[in-house]
C-alpha cells in the first residue's frame, strides 16, 4: 500500500478496537487505518452476548456494519489473525499471508476464557462463553442436554447459568471454588442473599467445590469433585475467569506481566513505544480490566497519545451491576473496605430478599463503596456519590433505607450532582455534556441524547439517570414537559380527551382534521379510538379501521393469524351447563382450550371467518364478550368467600360478579383488572390488581394501583372498613379519574408512580373531593355503565358487520390456507414462527 500517511495497524476487531477506530477518525484523518480481526464478523457487542439467546441476531449485536468501515476509509481484514510481529521491520504477518507495514501498532486482542487444567476438559459437551461461535455451539448442543453445569460463580458464570435456563435446561448447577458467589464483587452476607434468590430461579449453587475430573467416554457425563462427590451432567460451560491474549506480544519480545497481560504505561504504550495495547489484553499497574468501560477509556488515551494531546490512564472504577439474570446485584467503589478503616451500615432483610451495605469514611462525610443485592435501584446515585466525593447527608442510612418521610424525588437527585459527574462511564459523558445538549442544542428526547452524546448507548445502565437529567433540566428552564401522543397530535392524552369532549368530536378523522396533522398512524389511532369509546361508548366496530387489529376483529390475533375467543365469566363463576356448552363449541370449531390466568376459559385457533358463528352460538347460550382484546376491564378475580370457605367473612363471589358486570366493556388507557377476596388470606390476589377489595370484620378494604406484569407492584390501601356502596363509589371515581388523565398504555400503577403528589394526592381527590370533580366523575361513570352493550351481539345481529369477518373479500367462504396447526397433547397448537 503506497501512502504518505503514517499507518496505524490494529490487531483484533473487538469492542475496544472498534471504539479506538471510532475515536481516531473523529479526531483526525491523518492516519491510514488497517484492522486485522480473527473472528469472521466485524466487532459486535460482547457485553450483550447473552441476548443472542433471547432472539437478538448477530446483526443486532454488531457495533457497526461492514459498510461503516469502508465509508470511513478503514481497511478491515476479517478472518485473518496476525501470526507474527516483526518489530525491526515494523511489519505484521497474517495467516492468509498479508505483510503489512505499520508506523504504530495497536494490540486490541482482548482475552480468552481461562480454562483450568482439569482432566477430561477436552471432552465433547464442554464449552466456553466468549464469542458468537461459542454460543452457536452451545445452542446446538443444549437441544439434547438434560443436566448442565457452569464452572465459575462470578458475573459471567451466573449469566451463562441463566442462559442455560433460557435454553430449557432445568436447574443448572453452578460450581464455585471460592466460599461465595461473585467473590470479586460482593461479600459473604451478600452472597448468601444472592444464593437464596438464585435458588428460587432454579439454579443449584455449590460453593467451596473444586472439580477434580470430568467423567465420560468421549462425551462428558459427570463432574467429579475433590471431596469425592459427583453430579451427573451432560453439558458444561467453563467460566472461570479470563486470560489476556498476549501470545503475539510475548513472541515478539514485548514485556509481559508474570501472570499474563501486555505491560503498558499511563499512555498505553508497551515496552516498545510504537506499539500500544488496549482493552482486556493490557496490563496497567498490575491490573487487567475485564470490563468494557475501562477498555474504552484506554482507547481514548491511546488515540490522544497518537494525536499528541496529553491524556493518561490512571486506573478505573470497577463498579458493576449484574445484568440479565433478573436479580439486582451491584457493587461500587470499594465494596470490601471494613472497620476500622471505615464504618459500614448494613441492611439485611431476608424476608424481602434485600441486602445492602454501604461503607462510609470514619468522619461520616464520604461514601467509599458498597454492595446491593435484591434491590439496586439506588446504584447509579450511590456510584455518583462515591465518584464525586459528595458530602453525605446527616443520616447516611437513608441512602439504603430510603428516606422515611415524604416521597423522594429521584430527578432532583441527579440534578444535584456536580457538572463534571460522569453519568455514562462507557462513553465517558458528563452531566454537563448532557445538560448542554438539552439546554443549548434543544435535544429533549432520550434517542436524541443518545445520538448526540452517545450516553446510554453501551451498557444502558445510565439511561434512567439520563432521562431524569433531561426532565430535570427542562424543568429548570421552566419548560413544561408533556408526553405528546405522536407526530400527528401535539397533545397529551389528557389534553386530547378534553378537546375531543368539549368539541363533541365523534369520529377519528374529525379529530385529526381539527387537532392533528398528516394521516394518523398506528399509535394515535387506537388512542383516539379509546378516548372516543371512553367518552361516548359507541359501538367500536363501526370505526373498525381506527382500532388496533384486535379491536377491529373483537378478538386477539394469535401466532399464525387465527384468533382467540374469550367469553366473559364474571367473577370466575360458571354453571355446569355453560361449561358443557363451551366444550361443545370448542369441539365443533376445533379450538384449543385453556383456563386463563384470569379465571376464565380461552379458546384458541379460530379462523376469522368462524368468529361470528362461534359468537352467535355463545350468545345464544347466554355468554357475552369478555373484552380480552380491548384496553378495557378484563376480569374481576374472586375467591370462593363466605358461601363455602370456612374463613370467609363476606360473599366475595357475589361482589366480584357485581363489580365485573358494572365495569365490563369500559374502555381505558390500558386494561384494568380487579379482585375480591373474602378475607385477609387473599386467595383472589386482589392486592396485585388495579383495584382490589378484601373483606374485613367490619366491611371491605379497598386497594388501588396494583400490577402484575414484568414489574409487579402491590396495590395500596385507599380506604378501610367501608361498606359496599362506598366501595363502588370510590372505584367509580378512581377509574374515571384514571381514564381521564392517564397517558396511553399506562397501567394504574405507573400512572400513580408518575403522579405529582403520589398517593396522598390521589386519596385527597377521591376521598375528600379536593379538586371538586367527584360528582362529575360519578355521573360520567354511571353514563358508561348505563350504555353498556355486548360488542359481539351487535356484530352477530348485523349482516353488514358480519361481512367484515372474512379472510378473502373476493372469496368469502375460503379460509386462509396458510394457517397450519400442529397436534399437541391431544389438542392443537399454532405452527411455530418460521
Amino acid at each position: 500500500m503506497t501512502t504518505t500517511k503514517p499507518a496505524v495497524v490494529i490487531i483484533g476487531n473487538g469492542m475496544v478496537s472498534y471504539k479506538f477506530c471510532e475515536k481516531l477518525i473523529a479526531k483526525t484523518s491523518n492516519f491510514e487505518i488497517i484492522v486485522f480481526g480473527e473472528e469472521s464478523r466485524p466487532a459486535y457487542d460482547r457485553v450483550h452476548l447473552s441476548e443472542y439467546f433471547n432472539g437478538k441476531s448477530a446483526e443486532d449485536l454488531s457495533m457497526s456494519p461492514l459498510t461503516w468501515y469502508a465509508e470511513n476509509g478503514i481497511h478491515l481484514h476479517l478472518n485473518d489473525p496476525v501470526k507474527e510481529i516483526n518489530r525491526e521491520e515494523k511489519t505484521v504477518h497474517t495467516l492468509k499471508g498479508i505483510n503489512q507495514h505499520y508506523d504504530y501498532l495497536i494490540l486490541a486482542t482482548g482475552s480468552s476464557a481461562f480454562v483450568p487444567d482439569i482432566p477430561g476438559i477436552e471432552k465433547q459437551g464442554v464449552f466456553v462463553y466468549r464469542t458468537i461461535e461459542d454460543l452457536d455451539l452451545i445452542l446446538a448442543y443444549a437441544a439434547n442436554a438434560k443436566e448442565a453445569a457452569v464452572i465459575g460463580g462470578g458475573l459471567l458464570g451466573l449469566e451463562a447459568a441463566k442462559a442455560l435456563i433460557d435454553l430449557g435446561i432445568k436447574e443448572p448447577h453452578v460450581i464455585e471454588f471460592a466460599p461465595r458467589l461473585m467473590p470479586r464483587q460482593i461479600d459473604q452476607a451478600g452472597s448468601k442473599m444472592l444464593q437464596m434468590k438464585l435458588n428460587e430461579l432454579g439454579l443449584k449453587i455449590h460453593l467451596n467445590k473444586s472439580t477434580s475430573r470430568i467423567g465420560g467416554e468421549d462425551k462428558i457425563d459427570a463432574l467429579h469433585f475433590a471431596d469425592d462427590t459427583q453430579i451427573p451432567v451432560d453439558m458444561l460451560i467453563i467460566s472461570a475467569g479470563i486470560r489476556p491474549r498476549d501470545e503475539l506480544a510475548q513472541l515478539s519480545g514485548l514485556k509481559i506481566g508474570t501472570r499474563g497481560g501486555v505491560v503498558v504505561n499511563d499512555y498505553m504504550q508497551t515496552s516498545d513505544e510504537s506499539i500500544f495495547a488496549i482493552g482486556e489484553c493490557a496490563l496497567h499497574e498490575g491490573m487487567i480490566y475485564g470490563l468494557v468501560a475501562p477498555g474504552y477509556e484506554m482507547a481514548d488515551v491511546a488515540v490522544n497519545t497518537l494525536c499528541n494531546s496529553e491524556k493518561s490512564f490512571s486506573g478505573y472504577d470497577m463498579s458493576t451491576k449484574l445484568k440479565l439474570i433478573g436479580i439486582d446485584v451491584a457493587s461500587f467503589g470499594d465494596p470490601f473496605i471494613a472497620e476500622p478503616d471505615c464504618r459500614s451500615i448494613v441492611m439485611d432483610d431476608s424476608h424481602k430478599g434485600v441486602y445492602k451495605r454501604i461503607n462510609i469514611s470514619n468522619d461520616g462525610k464520604h461514601l467509599l463503596g458498597g454492595i446491593l443485592v435484591g434491590d439496586a435501584t439506588s446504584y447509579n446515585m450511590l456510584l455518583q456519590t462515591v465518584k464525586n466525593h459528595i458530602i453525605l447527608p446527616p443520616n447516611p442510612e437513608d441512602l439504603i433505607l430510603g428516606s422515611r418521610g415524604e416521597s423522594t424525588n429521584e430527578g432532583s437527585g441527579a440534578m444535584s450532582l456536580p457538572d463534571d459527574a460522569l453519568i455514562c462511564s462507557c462513553e465517558s459523558v458528563s452531566k454537563g455534556a448532557i445538560l448542554h445538549a438539552v439546554k443549548e442544542d434543544h435535544i429533549t428526547t432520550l434517542d436524541g441524547i443518545k445520538k448526540c452524546t452517545k450516553a446510554g448507548t453501551c451498557c444502558g445502565g445510565c439511561v434512567p439517570m439520563v432521562k431524569d437529567l433531561i426532565a430535570g433540566s427542562l424543568k429548570e428552564s421552566g419548560i413544561y414537559v408533556k408526553n405528546v401522543i405522536c407526530e400527528h397530535f401535539n397533545y397529551s392524552r389528557q389534553e386530547l380527551l378534553d378537546v375531543i369532549k368539549i368539541n363533541n368530536v365523534k369520529i377519528y378523522d374529525e379529530a385529526l382534521d381539527h387537532f392533528g396533522k398528516g394521516d394518523g398512524c398506528e399509535t394515535c389511532k387506537p388512542v383516539v379510538a379509546s378516548i372516543l369509546s371512553s367518552l361516548w361508548n359507541d359501538v367500536i366496530v363501526k370505526q373498525g379501521t381506527t382500532q388496533d387489529s384486535n379491536d377491529r376483529y373483537l378478538a386477539n390475533i394469535q401466532k399464525g393469524g387465527t384468533y382467540s375467543v374469550v367469553p366473559r365469566i364474571p367473577g370466575g363463576e360458571i354453571t355446569p351447563d355453560k361449561l358443557i356448552i363451551l366444550g361443545q363449541i370448542a369441539k365443533k370449531y376445533a379450538l384449543y382450550t385453556k383456563i386463563t390466568g384470569g379465571q376464565r376459559i380461552d379458546m384458541f385457533g379460530a379462523h376469522v371467518n368462524d368468529l361470528p358463528d362461534i359468537w352467535e352460538e355463545l350468545i345464544d347460550a347466554g355468554f357475552e364478550s369478555g373484552h380480552a382484546y380491548g384496553k378495557a376491564l378484563r376480569t374481576v378475580k374472586s375467591c370462593v368467600g363466605s358461601t363455602w370457605c370456612r374463613f370467609g367473612l363476606h360473599d366475595s363471589v357475589s361482589f366480584a360478579i357485581e363489580i365485573e358486570e358494572r365495569y365490563r366493556g369500559i374502555r381505558a388507557p390500558h386494561k384494568i383488572k380487579g379482585g375480591v377476596s373474602g378475607c385477609v388470606r387473599e386467595c383472589a390476589e386482589a392486592q396485585s390488581k388495579d383495584f382490589g377489595i378484601i373483606a374485613t370484620e367490619k366491611g371491605w378494604n379497598l386497594y388501588i394501583c396494583g400490577n402484575g406484569g414484568s414489574k409487579p407492584q402491590h396495590a395500596q390501601l385507599l380506604a378501610s372498613d367501608i361498606d359496599k356502596e362506598t366501595c363502588i363509589k370510590y372505584i367509580d371515581r378512581f377509574l374515571m379519574f384514571y381514564i381521564k388523565t392517564a397517558d396511553p398504555l399506562t397501567r394504574t400503577a405507573t400512572w400513580l408512580n408518575k403522579m405529582e403528589g403520589g398517593l396522598p394526592y390521589l386519596k385527597n381527590v377521591i376521598l375528600n373531593d379536593s379538586i371538586e370533580i367527584c360528582g362529575q366523575l360519578e355521573s360520567e361513570m354511571q353514563g358508561l355503565v348505563d350504555s353498556f352493550h355486548c360488542e359481539w351481539k351487535e356484530v352477530v345481529n348485523n349482516p353488514e358487520l358480519r361481512k367484515r369477518f372474512v379472510h378473502f373479500v373476493n372469496a368469502p367462504e375460503k379460509k386462509d390456507p396458510t394457517v397450519e396447526f400442529d397436534s399437541f397433547r391431544t389438542q392443537i397448537k399454532a405452527k411455530d414462527w418460521l
Binding site: 400527528h488 394518523g520 390475533i557 378473502f808 373476493n810 386462509d816
Partner: protein, 123 residues
C-alpha cells in the same frame, strides 16, 4: 396509487386483474384478496383518496396479516404506510420498504378503479 389512463397505456406489460368491489375494502383500512394462490392486501386510503396494494405476507415472521394492519402516514412528506398487527413493523405503501428500521421490502402493486371495481396490476 390510482393511475391515469395515459400512464396505464405506457405500462403495457402490466396485466390488470379484477380484485374486488370498492365497497369490499373498509374505509381507511385494508382487505385481502386471493389471486391464483397469491394473497394481496388492498388498502382504501379514503382520507387521501388513494388506493394501494401490497403482498399480504409480513416478512418479519411470515404472517398473512398486512391487510388487517392500520394504515397512516409518517414524516413531513406524509409517506403512506401500513403497520403489521403482530409486532407493528411498518412498511411504506409506495416503495414497500420497511420504515421501522429493518431490512425488509414487500411487494407493491398498482391499483386502478373503474365503475366501482378495484383492479390490481400484475407484472
Amino acid at each position: 396509487m390510482i393511475n391515469t389512463d395515459t400512464e396505464l397505456q405506457a405500462e403495457a406489460s402490466i396485466q390488470w386483474i379484477l380484485a374486488c368491489k370498492e365497497e369490499d375494502v373498509p374505509e381507511n383500512g385494508g382487505a385481502c384478496i386471493n389471486y391464483k394462490g397469491e394473497q394481496i392486501a388492498i388498502f382504501n386510503f379514503t382520507r387521501r383518496k388513494e388506493w394501494y396494494a401490497t403482498q399480504n405476507l409480513c416478512p418479519h415472521k411470515q404472517q398473512m396479516a398486512l391487510a388487517r394492519g392500520m394504515i397512516g402516514s409518517a414524516g413531513e412528506s406524509c409517506e403512506p404506510k401500513v403497520a403489521c398487527p403482530f409486532h407493528k413493523k411498518t412498511f411504506s405503501l409506495l416503495s414497500g420498504e420497511c420504515t421501522s428500521g429493518e431490512d425488509y421490502t414487500i411487494k407493491t402493486y398498482p391499483v386502478k378503479l373503474s365503475a366501482g371495481q378495484v383492479f390490481i396490476g400484475i407484472q
